[in-house]
């Protein structure tokens, strides 16, 4: 019974969706079967694979660039109080600027294309990751630092052998959250700035002939991929070497 | 005619299923506690004494046997008997006053305020009424939890290694505080501890438990009046007796 609960609730929702779709006046909103057919159509036309790859390509580049730059920068800022004092206000001001508000500038600098979208994703992940890495270092218990120094570790060794591992649990949480944000941004960016990817699929399917079955099919794919990305990051949190950081 | 016991534990056993096998934690425990008595349950860590206390408090159901309080079978937790936790269970989102008044929601505002004031004073937290637990020391938090329990005027208190996390000086102070409070408020107290000195200093009787499955090895009467002299021959003799029962040699 317990195991069936998730399935039965999902099935019930699908049925409600089906019935709702058939009671509407406009006839534009698709039922689950039409969405499934839409997915198959996209698959057959080869668009599904192409757009999924396009979206993932942008996320991978933008996010990876953000990770390799933001984490070292954040660790350094967390370590050197002065650096933090100097740069933190600027970071705090830039952070709440919706990454999508950069779209005009991104297009101005990089033109309509992959690089513009990658830049937006980079921005969306870079700022929160830097702030998180900085805070993670600040939250390393001083006793651990003292213990490290006691064993005669030099500053660089201390950073690598004590601070990074101690900050890692918090960092992983931030990595997971910012990957979610990156996925959210790529879709939005593709709706405005480029002409491929799952976000573009959604806008295009609507504009070119009100194909709402393809719109919802695109949304389902976005949900599924987002879920897989999140589950992957959750696996990281479950690693034994990190588990201590998340309480019981 | 002797009065009926306040707490009566009859043939209590507890088994936990753990993947595949069944672990027996408690095995046929029989114990009677008189009204107003302070009984220490003494045993090594992990022997199942906390499980016993949780069953008596009504938080766990025993596999077999029964617990009677005032000749009524315990079916669940009850505000007439309050559990004071091993890890400090004060609510961090409430002030000292809020914590002490937590269980008094059935009373009118005036009576509530009066009771809160009384018990804050009794446990020596006057002046800290509006402080939050994180602003208090460990000993103060423990006293706050005792005050929260006493405020609802329970007949029985269950204390699960309440002073275990405190430093040894604070622990001594807290024990004499507990005895002082006990003189002011006659309560039946079941006190779980792994500290032999603690049991000799506090208890009327000490129930010595064996390791898993826990059974009662022996019940030792502490025939000393309060205040107890910690260097008297009798104290040392009782202490040695309990050390022997626990199975530890006299010398390290």
């Amino acid at each position: 019974m317990k195991r069936l609960l998730p399935f039965s609730a999902t099935a019930a929702l699908l049925i409600v969706w089906f019935l709702a779709a058939h009671r509407q006046v406009s006839g534009l909103f698709p039922d689950p079967l039409q969405v499934l057919k839409g997915l198959l159509e996209l698959l057959r036309r080869g668009l599904l694979a192409k757009y999924v790859v396009a979206s993932l390509f942008r996320v991978t580049w933008g996010y990876s660039l953000a990770v390799v730059t933001a984490i070292p920068l954040g660790l350094l800022l967390g370590w050197y109080k002065r650096g933090e004092r100097a740069l933190n206000p600027l970071l705090q001001l830039l952070r709440p600027i919706s990454p999508l508000a950069w779209i005009p500038i991104s297009i101005l600098w990089f033109g309509v294309g992959d690089v513009a979208a990658i830049f937006l994703i980079f921005l969306a992940s870079f700022l929160p990751l830097t702030a998180a890495a900085m805070n993670a270092v600040r939250n390393v218990p001083p006793t651990l630092l003292r213990a490290g120094r006691n064993f005669g570790l030099s500053n660089p060794r201390l950073l690598v052998d004590v601070i990074l591992p101690a900050a890692l649990p918090q960092l992983i949480v931030a990595l997971r959250i910012s990957l979610g944000v990156a996925w959210l941004v790529v879709v939005a960016a593709e709706m405005i700035a480029v002409n491929s990817g799952l976000g573009f699929l959604i806008v295009d399917a609507r504009n070119a002939g009100n194909r709402y079955d393809l719109v919802v099919a695109g949304m389902v794919m976005i949900g599924l991929i987002g879920l897989v990305l999140d589950l992957g990051m959750q696996q990281l949190e479950k690693m034994k070497a990190l588990k201590w950081g998340y309480g019981s | 005619m002797t009065p009926p016991p306040k707490v009566s534990i009859r043939g209590l056993s507890m088994r936990f299923p753990t993947d595949g096998s069944v672990i027996e934690v408690l095995s046929s425990i029989d114990l009677e506690v008189k009204d107003g008595e302070l009984v220490c349950i003494l045993g090594p860590s992990g022997c199942g004494k906390s499980t016993l206390l949780n069953i008596v408090g009504g938080f766990l159901k025993a596999t077999s046997g029964a617990v009677l309080i005032d000749e009524q079978e315990v079916a669940g937790p009850d505000p007439r008997r309050i559990f004071v936790f091993q890890e400090r269970g004060v609510f961090p989102w409430l002030t000292v006053e809020g914590n002490v008044g937590f269980g008094l929601f059935r009373l009118g505002a005036a009576e509530r305020a009066e009771r809160i004031a009384y018990y804050v004073k009794l446990v020596g937290l006057s002046g800290f009424e509006n402080a939050y637990p994180q602003e208090l020391s460990g000993g103060m938090k423990q006293r706050l939890e005792v005050a929260r329990a006493l405020a609802v005027n329970p007949d029985v208190l269950f204390l699960d290694e309440p002073f275990g996390a405190l430093d040894s000086i604070t622990r001594l102070v807290m024990r004499s505080e507990l005895l002082r409070i006990r003189r002011a408020e006659k309560k039946t107290i079941l006190f779980v501890t792994h500290d032999i000195d603690e049991s000799v200093q506090l208890a009327d009787r000490v129930v010595v438990m064996s390791t898993r499955p826990a059974t009662i090895r022996r019940i030792v009467e502490i025939d000393m009046s309060h205040p107890r002299d910690l260097s008297s021959p009798r104290y040392i003799a009782l202490r040695d007796l309990l050390l022997g029962e626990i199975g530890l040699a006299h010398k390290i």
């Binding site: 609730a9 919706s98 879709v187 987002g226 | 937790p77």
Partner: protein
Amino acid sequence: MPTRSDVERVLLPLGTAALAIVAWSLAVRLTHTTVFPSPLKVAAGLRELAARGVLWRYTGDSLRRVATGYSLALVLGVPAGLALGWIPALASAFNPVIQMARPISPLAWMPLAILWFGVSEAAPDLLIFLGAFFPIVVASMNGVRSVPAMYLQAGRNFGLSTPRLLARVVFPAALPQILVGLRIALGIAWLVVVAAEMIAVDSGLGYLIIDSRNAGKRYDLVVAGMLLIGAIGLVLDVVARRLERLRSVRWGFQGETA
């Protein structure tokens, strides 16, 4: 007497800000760009927006949309999350749907929002609602689930009925985590409103940015709009963090000086 570190706390950020502005104007001058505005031009753009009255109107529009969508998410999301956290059967029934819907970019709902509500105020409100709703639900659910069993035991021991237990123990114990969720959701709402206004409506700060670009490449107004978005977002974040400093929830943030 201000100490040396106090002086640094004020001077260092001011110094960096000044440096950033100088670097920005130098970059504009050296590249001889005619499109990208200098800081002075942006300041002039801000004054122009204020003079035309759009500054306040658009800011008000964006804030009103966030307020509507976010309040709705708050009012529905917190109780839903509490219920899901408290009743395991409910959580296992709805978890697949929630996990699936959560990563769908709120912007991806745009076509459906327009289909259901037309190009109107309701479309951005729905997107903001969706963007804020899921983080709030998940934070509230996790908050309830991680309430220490000891607190529940103590509450029951004092004879609390289930509704009382929820109100007096579960909710306050989960509140720190809920507040973090609320702050994150507010940030997302602010992110979504800007994007929604770029696509769906013709007012608000998001519209200001896209319109300034499309109508005559006024990049000075684009950057002015971005700065406004940043400043307002910062204020929202600071206000949300203030809530986390209240004495009755501060216990939940030990070791988190962020």
